[in-house]
């Protein structure tokens, strides 16, 4: 007989069916996976990481390092589920990790025999010769705990929500309840969180009388009072991290197969009432299943009616023995007691503890319930920057100095007395100083030498010998110890192993523990699912694309949509990409085409200083631009690098519209704002980004004028009246329009901008007048035929204006402008700069791959930035950046691409209508 369910009370409870390693079992409502397993007598719940030693349940909640499972339910599989803190649900399929075929009969159990040859640091000393790669695959296969399930989560993955309160109380035990009640009573907006399904904490784990009443009777009035005062109580909610500016991350769990919730709580004050856990006793074979946390066993008894053994030995302080012993006796167990200082103690058994042996003595035991003292849960305290101080009497790190907005009360600060915990909570909530802790005499908990292995980290298989070896090899800093032995790096993050590891190290070094120090606790306090962090941001909600008001029209015409510069735009129209693109190019060159240019930036710059301001921000001179005219220009960085190109149109003396590339609208707007507020008078120049208020329909092609004329905009469209690079205002159907004669295709073009909601009518009208829609791919080819660049594609992060042959402003503009000094640095004047050129292939050759490199003597001297088969010209064209390219005209160069060489000739970067007759038409 080992563990079993006792009380009759559970007889009426709802039964929950589940399987463990394939075996059908039953639990009752309210069970955790671990309590259900213990309730039916399962001892071995898993295998340890390194040696595949059998592992049983150690703790009653999140301090357990052993009961880790892969769990499936309703099509959802989760790896590494902590069985001691996960509620059992009907139908769960529970599988032990790191074992095969089952936890009980694990084929790799024999690994333990090799343990003398697998010391700490084993891998650093081995497998260097001939090569780590020969050994690593086999080692990787052995590692890992659970298996990632096959199911793919469909986003969104769960709720992320912000919240705030005056006082956040973490932990619903006596101290936390007391604090929350007092704070709520004082009129504070209080939130109390507890990771259990109900509040009460240690009162439910190990009940004792409060104010002469049973704990359950005491708890309800507290929660009632908290709620009545407007406080909120959140169960199944774990505070797992405290971050800067008092932000506390809360993980709220829900039924297994549903999405979890991440609450980011901004708290004015935080009261930590996180309690304390048992510190294991280090003795020989103390990793055998059946060796358990004393308070864990008490929790199983009182929360789940599970008695963890019938022949129990208590290994704990006299105070604990007096408190807990009778509880287990009343439940029907035989209870024996061994003092903590028992020499030569070791557990005996295979797969589970059967007896304890010490000296010449030996007695039977099916459960050994241990507590070498209490370890306060100070993790959150440390996240927030709180300091720790070693308390030799309690054998624990207690909170020292900490941030003002944080208090720590009850067991979490070392107060293990119920009255003091309640008093602590009240005082913290009402701004009083807590009563000092009584000093206590140390317990004799230093591990005694033993021939049997004494385990410190149960999941990662770290023993006292490993610690000794690390110290012997001078891994004497606690961080070195942790990293060298993996002590405390398991999924429980050292909750049970930390202090025992430090104690063992201190013994080896002959130093007090206070001088050895401790490692930092880092969030999360308990592991949290990655899906918490995705929230609703899956698929199209990551970097969502901007959408044109004309998209329905474009889709109706067969537009194939794709992403261009942060917008969803038509790549081409129709089913067959290649033919479509060629036809669209021909349409623009020979007839009339239309395209949606709504995404181009429209940034209004207004005010008496607008002209001078733009003159400073842009490379090109803007101050002398006449009203009604448009100028092309570059925006440079202060290094002199081209950031964006665009056109500036001057509407009147004090009003400009800057049109930048689609992908740079917010960037250009931000830069304009930055300079406006730095070195300019922000009351005399204003920047309005109105890109989304206007939509733009571009009509382009030799017959564009006929189409635009038929729109009856009230504008004289003749070339003499409305020249290339100018702007006119008109109306369409009563709505104001701005018409720009600029051209990205090289053909006669009119860009007609109109209020967004009027654009669909305009678009339909232009289409009815015979213009054919063209997509971005054709547009891209048309511009390349003209040698027009796309910033960021045909330029890179080193390109300056002179590399494109545009040296006028650099040499002549006298007023300062952004980038002017950068254009005078040694790198700007150096030879060997990469310059933009055209690239031609030999007659009959195929097009160059974009991304191919131009080489000289086997070294790269540049690369192909754009390359197309020109439908207009019937042969390939390409643009590239080449070192000193502008002085290498007509040179033949080798082109390298993925191991193959071919040849190309440097030519001027314009193939079509170099004089510009067509766009000026």
């Amino acid at each position: 007989m080992t563990a079993r369910r006792i009380h009759i009370a559970t007889a009426g409870s709802k039964r929950l069916a589940f399987t463990f390693d394939g075996q059908p079992l039953q639990g009752v409502a309210g069970d955790t996976i671990a309590s259900a397993l213990l309730g039916v007598g399962v001892r071995i719940v898993g295998r340890s990481f390194k040696y595949h030693r059998p592992r049983g349940v150690w703790g009653g909640w999140t301090d357990d390092p052993n009961a880790i499972f892969d769990v499936s339910l309703a099509g959802v599989t989760k790896p590494n589920v902590q069985g001691t803190a996960t509620l059992l649900e009907d139908g769960m399929i529970v599988r032990s990790v790191n074992s095969w075929p089952t936890a009980r009969f694990d084929v790799k159990a024999g690994l333990d025999l090799l343990s003398p040859f697998l010391p700490a640091g084993f891998y650093y000393k081995m497998f260097k010769w001939p090569d780590w790669h020969l050994f690593e695959p086999a080692i990787r296969k052995m590692a890992g705990l659970g298996r990632v399930g096959p199911d793919v989560a469909d986003g969104p993955d769960g709720l992320q929500i912000h919240d705030q309160c005056d006082v956040l109380v973490v932990g619903g035990g006596p101290a936390g309840l007391s604090a929350a009640r007092a704070a709520a009573h004082a009129g504070q907006d209080v939130v109390l969180v507890d990771d259990h399904p109900d509040v009460g904490g240690s009162l439910r784990d190990n009940p004792c009388q409060i104010d002469g009443t049973a704990p359950a009777v005491w708890i309800t009035p507290q929660t009632d009072a908290i709620k009545a005062a407007g406080g909120r109580i959140m169960a199944r909610t774990t505070a797992f991290g405290i971050y800067d500016h008092s932000l506390i991350s809360l993980h709220q769990t829900a039924p297994f197969a549903t999405h979890p919730k991440l609450i980011r709580m901004r708290a004015g004050r935080v009261i930590l009432a996180t309690g304390a856990i048992d510190r294991p006793v280090v003795f020989g074979n103390n990793d055998l299943p059946g060796v358990m946390s004393l308070r864990g066993a008490a929790a199983y008894l009182h929360r789940h009616d599970v008695l963890t053994g019938t022949d129990i030995t208590l290994l704990a302080s006299a105070q604990d023995v007096a408190h807990f012993g009778p509880m287990f006796e009343r439940a029907g167990a035989q209870v024996r007691v061994l003092p903590l200082e028992t020499e030569g103690l070791r557990a005996v058994g295979r797969g589970k503890v059967r007896a304890l042996s010490y000296g010449t003595n030996r007695h039977h035991a099916d459960a050994v319930l241990c507590s070498a003292g209490l370890s306060p849960l100070v993790h959150l305290w440390c996240h927030a920057g709180g300091q720790l101080e070693w308390d030799a009497g309690r054998g624990a790190f207690l909170p020292g100095a900490g941030p003002d907005h944080l208090s720590i009360v009850g067991g979490a600060r070392g107060a293990n007395d119920l009255d003091q915990s309640i008093d602590d909570g009240h005082k913290a909530a009402t701004g009083q100083t807590p009563a000092p802790l009584p000093s206590i005499a140390p317990l004799p908990t230093t591990p005694k030498p033993s021939r049997a292995r004494q385990w410190i980290d149960l999941q990662n298989d770290v023993t006292t010998k490993d610690v000794a070896l690390a110290a012997q090899e001078n891994f004497a800093s606690v961080e070195h110890l942790k990293r060298y032995t993996t002590l405390g790096m398991a999924t429980d993050q050292g909750k049970t192993s930390n202090v025992n590891g430090l104690t063992a190290l201190a013994v080896q070094l002959g130093k007090p523990i206070a001088d050895v120090g401790t490692t930092r606790f880092r969030p999360p306090y308990v592991p949290v699912p990655l899906q918490l962090y995705r929230g609703a941001r899956s698929s199209t909600q990551i970097a969502p694309l901007q959408r044109s008001v004309l998209e329905p029209q474009i889709r109706a015409l067969g537009g194939a949509m794709a992403e261009y510069g942060g917008w969803l735009r038509p790549a081409w129209y129709g089913d067959d990409m290649t033919t479509a693109i060629a036809q669209e190019c021909a349409q623009a060159r020979n007839d009339v085409a239309m395209l949606d240019a709504s995404s181009l930036g429209k940034i209004e710059v207004m005010g008496p200083d607008a002209a001078g301001f733009l003159n400073f921000v842009y490379y090109n001179s803007i101050a002398n631009l006449p009203a009604g005219k448009i100028r092309y220009g570059f925006m440079l960085t202060e290094r002199g690098i081209i950031y964006d190109d665009g056109v500036m149109a001057r509407l009147d003396e004090n009003h400009f519209v800057v049109s930048c590339s689609s992908s740079h609208v917010s960037g250009v707007t931000a830069l304009l704002e930055a300079w406006r507020q730095d070195g300019h008078d922000p009351d005399r120049v204003f920047v309005h980004n109105v890109t989304q208020a206007w939509a733009t329909v571009t009509v382009t092609g030799p017959k564009a004028r006929d189409v635009v004329a038929a729109l009856d905009l009230g504008i004289d469209l003749q070339a003499e009246a409305f020249a290339h690079m100018s702007l006119r205002l008109g109306t369409y159907d009563g709505m104001p329009v701005r018409v720009c004669r600029v051209s990205f295709t090289g053909e006669l073009s009119f860009e007609i901008s109109i209020a967004r909601d009027s654009a669909p009518n305009l678009w339909d009208h232009v289409h009815q007048l015979g213009a054919t829609p063209i997509g971005m791919e054709a547009t891209s080819i048309l511009r390349a035929e003209k040698g027009y660049i796309i910033i960021g594609k045909d330029t890179d992060g080193e390109t300056m204006p002179q590399d494109l042959g545009l040296i006028g402003p650099r040499d002549r503009k006298t007023q300062p402008y952004v980038g002017n000094r950068g254009l005078q640095t040694p790198v700007a004047k150096a030879t060997g700069r990469q310059q933009l050129v055209g690239l031609a292939v030999p007659e009959g050759a195929t097009q160059l791959p974009t991304g191919a490199h131009l080489t000289a003597a086997g070294k790269s001297i540049g690369y192909v930035t754009s390359s197309y088969l020109s439908p207009t010209l019937g042969h390939p064209i390409a643009l590239g950046l080449v070192q000193d390219g502008l002085s290498r005209l007509n040179a033949d160069l080798t082109v390298y691409h993925l191991g193959e060489n071919r040849s190309a000739r440097i030519v001027p970067a314009c193939w079509y209508d170099p004089k510009g007759d067509r766009l000026n038409a």
Partner: protein
């Protein structure tokens, strides 16, 4: 004492009583030929190469905490040389080549695992940029391949190949020689080897001042007293400007927190390293089974060795988009290191404005992979007072000439 299978066997049979200290705890001497400030990977490697390659053995490494406790022990352990500019390729590939033999050279298994790194291309323009990158590397003599979608799937089937993936996978650049290493082992291996060559490694010793006489750096004041030195080398990632303040010069460096994340161990699901520039995430799986995840810098300049939550959503949320089957794997731990960030995200190796004081800093997010090269080149500079040709372009003077080495086009994550 040599580490080998034989020594393991022997010690296993006699209870491991024979293992010697990996390094000693010397008290500082009054004077050294070279004092290295910073007992991280770069500092320890510099000391090792000074002693081994240049015969300079009166060397001290001064560490304010425990050796390897800075960014060396806080990173995501990626090692690669998939860079675009030839200057970068030369630097980082020197490092990869040194790593390839490091375990045997140091007699310490640093577990350099050449499992390959892929940088995903999420669109046709990305593929063109990937080709530009691969060609640059191939021409620079570094291994690189351009993978198509199916090849990526073969290497990493857990990636998001769904139709609704925000950033579909078109292909990737691939460097097969790249991979991961065991970060602590690199520090420990160099420390043990340097110690055995007579280098003094002085832990728990903080530099409190720089001794400058006649405008020349002559040593350092420390919490363990004044230590004179023929030359002083600073390898204090994250705190380079604090040292500059002590010595009276300025640096183009800003300190940021860089976070890293590891999940609970799971059975192998990912055998390579994958980076998505669009999502700003990369990850691999450690030999122990943890999913190791990294991303970009925090938004707020910081010396706090901890991270902020907005980057958690970006990086971990991005990871779930990148590899949706990891949604239910749990985050075990996250932490932050303080990194030196330069304007071009390339390191600074060279003399400081104060004669006698030399700089190895500015590695940004990429310091771990460069440890062997950083140490090798810094040792050369300190021993000979002149640059190795590979480190010359990384001199501080590049910010005046404008010859920046900005790789932002080569890798999607600012590094």
């Amino acid at each position: 004492m040599k580490y080998s299978a034989f020594s393991i066997l022997r010690e296993g049979l006699r209870g491991h009583r024979g293992w010697a200290k990996a390094w000693h705890n010397p008290t500082p001497k009054d004077t050294y030929d070279v004092v290295i400030i910073g007992g991280g990977g770069h500092g320890l490697a510099t000391a090792y190469y000074l002693a081994k390659n240049h015969g300079v053995s009166r060397v001290a490494v001064i560490e304010k905490g425990w050796l390897g406790g800075g960014n060396t022990g806080r990173n995501t352990t990626a090692i690669r040389s998939n860079y675009f500019y030839p200057q970068s390729t030369a630097l980082y590939d020197l490092s990869v080549r040194l790593y390839e033999d490091l375990s045997r050279e140091l007699n310490y298994n640093v577990m350099f695992s050449q499992r390959g790194i892929m940088t995903l291309a999420h669109s046709e323009p990305d593929m063109e940029m990937a080709a530009r990158q691969v060609n640059a590397m191939q021409l620079g003599g570094v291994d690189a391949e351009l993978l198509n979608r199916d090849q990526v799937r073969k290497y990493a089937p857990l990636l998001n190949f769904r139709d609704d993936a925000r950033f579909p996978i078109h292909g990737a650049t691939w460097q097969g020689r790249a991979g991961t290493g065991r970060h602590d082992a690199v520090a420990w291996g160099y420390a043990r080897a340097a110690d055995s060559l007579g280098v003094d490694i002085i832990q728990n010793c903080a530099v409190t001042g720089v001794l400058i006489e006649g405008g020349v750096c002559k040593g350092v004041e420390t919490s363990q007293g004044l230590i004179r030195a023929g030359k002083v080398g600073a390898a204090v990632a994250g705190h380079s400007t604090n040292l500059a303040d002590m010595a009276g010069y300025s640096l183009p460096i800003h300190s940021y927190a860089l976070q890293a994340f590891v999940s609970e161990p799971v059975k192998p699901v990912m055998n390579t390293v994958a980076l998505s520039p669009a999502l700003g995430v990369y990850f691999s799986q450690s030999d122990k089974g943890g999913i190791v995840v990294g991303g970009g810098l925090d938004r707020v300049p910081s010396y706090g060795q901890r991270g902020n939550t907005p980057m958690h959503d970006v990086v971990l949320g991005g990871l779930v988009e990148m590899a949706p089957i990891l949604a239910k794997v749990k985050l075990l731990r996250h932490w932050g290191g303080i990194v030196d960030v330069t304007p071009d995200s390339s390191p600074i190796i060279g003399p400081s404005p104060v004669p006698g004081l030399y700089l190895n800093c500015g590695w940004g997010t990429g310091g771990f992979k460069a440890i062997p090269a950083g140490g090798y080149l810094f040792a050369h500079l300190l021993a000979r007072d002149s640059h190795h040709e590979i480190s010359r372009p990384f001199d501080l003077d590049r910010f005046q000439t404008g010859h920046l080495i900005d790789e932002s086009a080569a890798s999607g994550i600012a590094h």
